[in-house]
Symmetry: C2
Subunit: 254 residues, 2 copies
Amino acid sequence: MASPTSILSLLLLVTAAVSSAAAVRIYPREHVVRAEGDPRCESWKFAVEVNAAGSWKTVPRPCIEFVREYFNGHRYLSDSRAVANYSLTFAYSVKLGKDHGRDAWVFDVDETLLSNLPYYRANGFGSKPFNDTSFNEWVNTGSAPPLPMSLRLYKKLKSLGFKIFLLTGRGESQRVVTQKNLLRAGYSGWEKLILRGTDDEGKKATVYKSEKRAELVKQGYIIQGNSGDQWSDLMGFALAKRSFKLPNSMYYIP
Amino acid sequence: MASPTSILSLLLLVTAAVSSAAAVRIYPREHVVRAEGDPRCESWKFAVEVNAAGSWKTVPRPCIEFVREYFNGHRYLSDSRAVANYSLTFAYSVKLGKDHGRDAWVFDVDETLLSNLPYYRANGFGSKPFNDTSFNEWVNTGSAPPLPMSLRLYKKLKSLGFKIFLLTGRGESQRVVTQKNLLRAGYSGWEKLILRGTDDEGKKATVYKSEKRAELVKQGYIIQGNSGDQWSDLMGFALAKRSFKLPNSMYYIP
């Protein structure tokens, strides 16, 4: 049997081939390298992604170009792919219950299943404070594309027999447009789409999402995996057995 | 008053100046860039640092050189500095109790206060499975240097009035050599050095460390901050108000 390390090496090699091709297509090589080599912004991103940075409202000015290149170049896709691959490796290791009915996977929506990159590309890549009005206008177009790695993972989890729950910070008023957008992006067959109701208003995302996960646990589900781009998707209580942090250095949700 | 964003921008600029100088000193520029530009290993590191990779025993073969350059070049120091700076920003924001006696900060030891880089440099930078015997021989020399950013943070926290607890996976048999090493590296004045006792043998690090933190809470301490290079230092129960994940892509402790 191949060892986990050799499987990983193979995954990395495949990733490299695909990623290099994508990078060449989008940017001249030296352009990509310049942003990658900026130690200030690499370390800012590190601190953000491991949740050491705490609450922040906008990308620091010296890193706006870095963030733009991260998302426009190959790196965002490559990081997303690595996390999706590890998620799937874990999913395969789960011994699903005989009735295949209790093993759940929780997905966040924005920057997890759906990508708001078209909006952020047109709005400075997190360099401006969050604008509720213009973001909701974008959401209401229902045209957010899928994150390709998440779509692939989603479909495989479904075929393995996981019950899929979508848990989003979006409000009930956006239920219809969110459903439409998800279907249009290629997602289907989820068990439940959970949005913020009137009772959840004003709650921090960590609390709201933990409470909703706790309800699932109370209903008998075993939350095996949880995928989200914010630590507030993954922390608190009623935690999944494994949590998968997707990259996002454009914005922070407490 | 300066906004948090402008303070951050300033920190980043200072970091950049110092880091660039360090990079030039250690490696020709193009050497650094090559390793940084490897998307396979950047994404592997991403997955490792956000704890999506789960348990792993050795650095994947294609990334050994990447890891070597990360630790030998400017990036390790730069990432450590970013996390230490955010830790300190948080520490300054804590309103310490009047008697300055209950606010605690928990530090891990290896790859948090002390650096085992001399050992890992001589032993393939995490490319070989962990060797208990040779690592303990190294520990018993008591010659691990401090992580410079952690030493700076440690001294500032102490001067602010935090009670400092050192919580390590090392065993009681290494108490004396660990104390000596810490003092030699410049650390002093901790409240307590907690090592694994006979009761703690065989426990996963997350459980052992959570139990020890819970004891501190029971004794009336408020664990404000917790610094560690492993997620098992930071997860579980009796969590700190803020947890600070330091970089470590050389090894994983479950």
